[in-house]
Symmetry: C2
Subunit: 429 residues, 2 copies
Amino acid sequence: MGQSSLVGLIVQKFGGSSVADAEGMKRVAQRIVTTKKAGHSVVVVVSAMGDTTDELINLANQVSPMPNGRELDMLLTAGERISMALLAMAISNLGHEARSFTGSQAGIITDSSHGKARVIDVSPGRIQEALDQGAIAIVAGFQGVSQDTKDITTLGRGGSDTTAVALAAALEADVCEIYTDVDGVFSADPRIVQHARQLTSITYEEMLEMAASGAKVLHLRCVEYARRFDVPIHVRSSFSNKEGTWVVSERPEGDEMEQAIIAGVAHDRSEAKITIVGVPDRPGVAAAIFQALADAQINLDMIVQNVSAAATGLTDISFTLPKDEGQIAIGSLKRIQGEVGFASLQYDDQIGKLSLVGAGMRSHPGISATLFAALSGAGVNIEMISTSEIRISIVCRESDLDRAVQSAHSAFDLDADNPEAVIYGGSGR
Amino acid sequence: MGQSSLVGLIVQKFGGSSVADAEGMKRVAQRIVTTKKAGHSVVVVVSAMGDTTDELINLANQVSPMPNGRELDMLLTAGERISMALLAMAISNLGHEARSFTGSQAGIITDSSHGKARVIDVSPGRIQEALDQGAIAIVAGFQGVSQDTKDITTLGRGGSDTTAVALAAALEADVCEIYTDVDGVFSADPRIVQHARQLTSITYEEMLEMAASGAKVLHLRCVEYARRFDVPIHVRSSFSNKEGTWVVSERPEGDEMEQAIIAGVAHDRSEAKITIVGVPDRPGVAAAIFQALADAQINLDMIVQNVSAAATGLTDISFTLPKDEGQIAIGSLKRIQGEVGFASLQYDDQIGKLSLVGAGMRSHPGISATLFAALSGAGVNIEMISTSEIRISIVCRESDLDRAVQSAHSAFDLDADNPEAVIYGGSGR
């Protein structure tokens, strides 16, 4: 990518596994100093060391079965405080000035939803000042301060990535580098698809669909934030100097993927399916069902309603949801069974979801047909289907999922040993 | 004490050993709730759990041999952050609202001397607000924020006690309770003097002299702060409900100790003695010696200069200092030996110091004579003497120190089984 040679201000984010011990700290410090020595201004966002967060949660559970949200956030933010101070020390020890800042000091302003706060403003005055004075700024990931109450908040899962992107946006950084334990974003999970290829670049919207469909490398909120502020993200390995994957608004000219129809195949084993059998097909019934699920804060994914049988006036409604919300959903549906009058509930946690993601779908009909043919050829039965503008998702048996992913990956010529693949026009599909 | 039944706002300080684990947290939470239930407003200052601070220092040393002061303070303050959040959770679990605050949030404003910052202002607006809303406020001890740089600072040894007293002063609390692992302040160390008596009260100036003379129950800076703002301190055990020792400006009427000449006998084994032999007795020589020691930041305690021998024009100068500063002092003296022209240096770390402290000394001559007679009777040789208005200190062999303390304690009728002791007029001395 041409961008990497032009950058002047780089935000780098390192996760907890990269700084799990003193040796990791020193290795990360060395990498940061190398970037600094190349002439760049550097802001680093760091997570808590290794298992620190889990250990703190364990302590909390020892004193209280239901820790207060404000206090749990106060407790957990100690984790990044420790890692950022140690990282600053390790950098100082290499002869470069580094100053650590809490989320509050770095100006990460959030709402007051403890445990899952949203960033509503970033005022990085102290960070800019440190950069202006030639120092490396180290910022605690995952945390902020609430605008209303001035209480310490945490951003929830993927929070450190979001901190990094939010700071990169506010500081108008040239790139936000997310260091991880894989080389970048792949066309499929390499553990399932042997010939999965690392993507040179992917668009924000594709990455959003991939993340929402089970790809774990970047969290949804971080990608949403990057898209909103057009922050280029470079996902790369903390164990090598190889180029990773750029997440950008449009694939740059000359990228071999520039004209790709399909970016990749994501999969997800974390969902379950609930089928409500024998639902009276009259107005208001579906509304009552989904209101009950909304009241229980269930995160629904795919929803399918069969055509009702004319003879009975009854239909079936199926939906998918995270497995760990299954019991709550069943409970709230049972409470409205009398009122709604459905016959029974079926719970199935042996499902898998495959999603084909690609911006090229917009202008290329026939993608579904190719996918369904491939799955059929592999003997995979499709149980549910849903689509967005740039995504097709199907639900199948969990035991068929690996085979489904492999056959889809091959059908769209994504395999890395097929050099003419995935280029628009190359395959003619 | 009449005060305890009248109080409305109480500051309670708990040290790291009281909150070393979840059980300790819960016990302390119970005690706090008991105070709250009695109708008081309660502010709690808490130290880091058990060995947390040492563990964090160990981590710092793994990444850097000389950790930066700013970053070390950032690191160490994670310790109180953890303990205060857990304590707030434990209190919430008992059905009372508790909110934790960092030093910065509690308005502890300091200078920017990292590792030993001094409190220069306290603006406890958020604490007052929490109290006004009926909540228990939990404040991180030992930490603040610098006025100039807005960086996080730590207050150094005894810092949590100082935080408690500073908050009590700013909030105009009725009492600052310092919870510890002993029952209060004693007339001597009970491990040395079997019949040492717990003092009902002691004045600030006596407590200052006791603390400066080796009594460890309260730190000098905390007592200085309490005296300056006239904050009553109640030193008491975290393991019982017994009354402890009140540290106040004047002993209240009716206190059996009201007219006491001597409050107690302190001792100190942490000092060493350096003797500079054969110092030319001419103007400027002593100045050169002590300037060299000041430049090396040596904390001198007692200083004795012998009368010079007329024949030689040479004298000896002895001084005491903390043992752990001995090597630095010897080094800086050797560097000026050529210039100053003394003969040799003697280093002696087998000394002990005994201090007799009592406000009654001001109006009662003859205290020294009684002390020296007692020591002589016990076969203790006095090597150095220094006095203040309310203190007499002597240096003897460390091996004689226990005997010296016991004999002084008896000579001033401080033993607990002698009920008519220590009352002015009671002994006639």
